[in-house]
Symmetry: C2
Subunit: 252 residues, 2 copies
């Protein structure tokens, strides 16, 4: 059955600024949430330095074992922007100026000082690639087969994801429900385990928290089957109720 | 020279909640920043699912090619907490209850309903491991040789990092300075490239931003050599000044 096929993606976040702790990455969560809506599951993420060998290794490890590979960062005009060259090297293709990207950049920079050599770097793509529109700052993202190359700046990547929405083949959307409970997760570990086991399409994640001196946990129940998901949620809520620990729908 | 040795670390973030986009990871930035202070560079990060084969693969890929390997997430009491078992499998060692961890948990849960079977799971370690204190919630982190296994909840990991401060051998601390400028980075790409080239111990990262309709960039200059770092910053500031784009020390 075509509908039972699971589509997966991997993401490579390229940037010394993430590895130094200077910048808090926002692209992992943003791309993960977007992929869910497309019916694609993010299976793994690697954060690598602005170094060609590190990028090449990650691209070659991930591009064949997932349906899609996303990369963010390193596609700007400066010397530390090496993503396009590194990915082309991994793919064994040349780098070429994409004529349409050049036209876009010429238009964007017409009133902004013109298309300099540095800016033209942003029109370079692995030869044979298509463009992903960037409605914010001209310089497009890049699609080469199942590889999507996007900006490091989260707002720009958000626009590129909008442009890609509905364009990638996906499978059944993974549905999820969250419920919270003022309980120590260790008290309900057995309930969680048994409830998950009784609903074979479902997975239950348990995420504890501490607030205002009180202990609680949110439980995230996931399934591609809406009926089984609802049954699992009902069973878990009843189990918590039976322990005098009422569940809070939607989480705490 | 011992001081020229560079120490590196890798980090494995374990958790479906990060890959689904539900939770925004905070451990990458927190551990990265802490490592910098210890004189250790975070070289790569992998985010993997709560699945044994994914964890085993990542551990075995990363544990030998870096001085240290950190892992966060999946060390709680519930069925989805499989990190200890998976790492033990990767190392080829058994899992055992650590007597001191058991004592800690007995004390912590004495007034909280007692040490149940689920809670005792949090005393399990790869056999031969040491403990990393957790002053918040009892359940300790785990150190096995060069591998540090920590909590997924960022506040708990913060406490574990405090406990480890100064305990790991590191090298020269990578120093960094940031300066901001209201300029399009494409205007200064050549200046950045030449300035970096002229200061061979330095690396310059360029991070553009858009605020209130204006374009700017922050430049992060890094080096282990304080003298060269200062010279590089001075040269870059002078170069920006010469373009009538004064630098803002500390960034914008």
């Amino acid at each position: 059955m075509a509908e039972s096929r699971i589509y997966t993606a991997a993401l490579i976040v390229i940037g010394d600024e993430i590895l130094s702790g200077r910048t808090h990455d926002k692209n992992i969560a943003q791309i993960a949430a977007w992929l869910q809506v497309q019916g694609i599951r993010l299976k793994e993420v690697r954060v690598v330095a602005d170094e060609t060998p590190a990028i090449v290794e990650a691209v070659n490890a991930l591009r064949t074992r997932n349906d899609y590979l996303f990369a963010t960062g390193g596609i700007g005009p400066t010397h530390d922007d090496i993503t396009v060259d590194a990915i082309a090297e991994a793919l064994g293709v040349a780098v070429a100026v994409h004529p349409e990207a050049r036209t876009i950049l010429e238009g964007y920079y017409e009133t902004r000082g013109g298309l300099t050599e540095a800016r033209l770097r942003m029109a370079r793509v692995p030869e044979g690639a298509d463009l992903i529109p960037n409605r914010y700052t001209g310089a497009p993202g890049i699609r080469f087969g199942n590889i999507m190359i996007m900006a490091g700046v989260p707002q720009i990547t958000a626009g590129m994801l909008d442009a890609l929405s509905g364009q990638l083949e996906g499978g059944a959307v993974l549905l999820s429900e969250t419920m919270g409970c003022w309980v120590q997760e260790s008290e309900v570990a057995e309930l969680l385990r048994l409830t998950e086991k009784a609903h074979e399409t479902c997975q239950i994640g348990s995420y504890p928290f501490w607030r205002d001196g009180k202990t609680g946990a949110n439980f995230v129940i996931r399934s591609v089957d809406a009926v089984d998901l609802a049954a699992c949620c009902r069973a878990l809520a009843e189990g918590l109720e039976a322990m005098n620990r009422p569940a809070v729908a939607g989480g705490i």
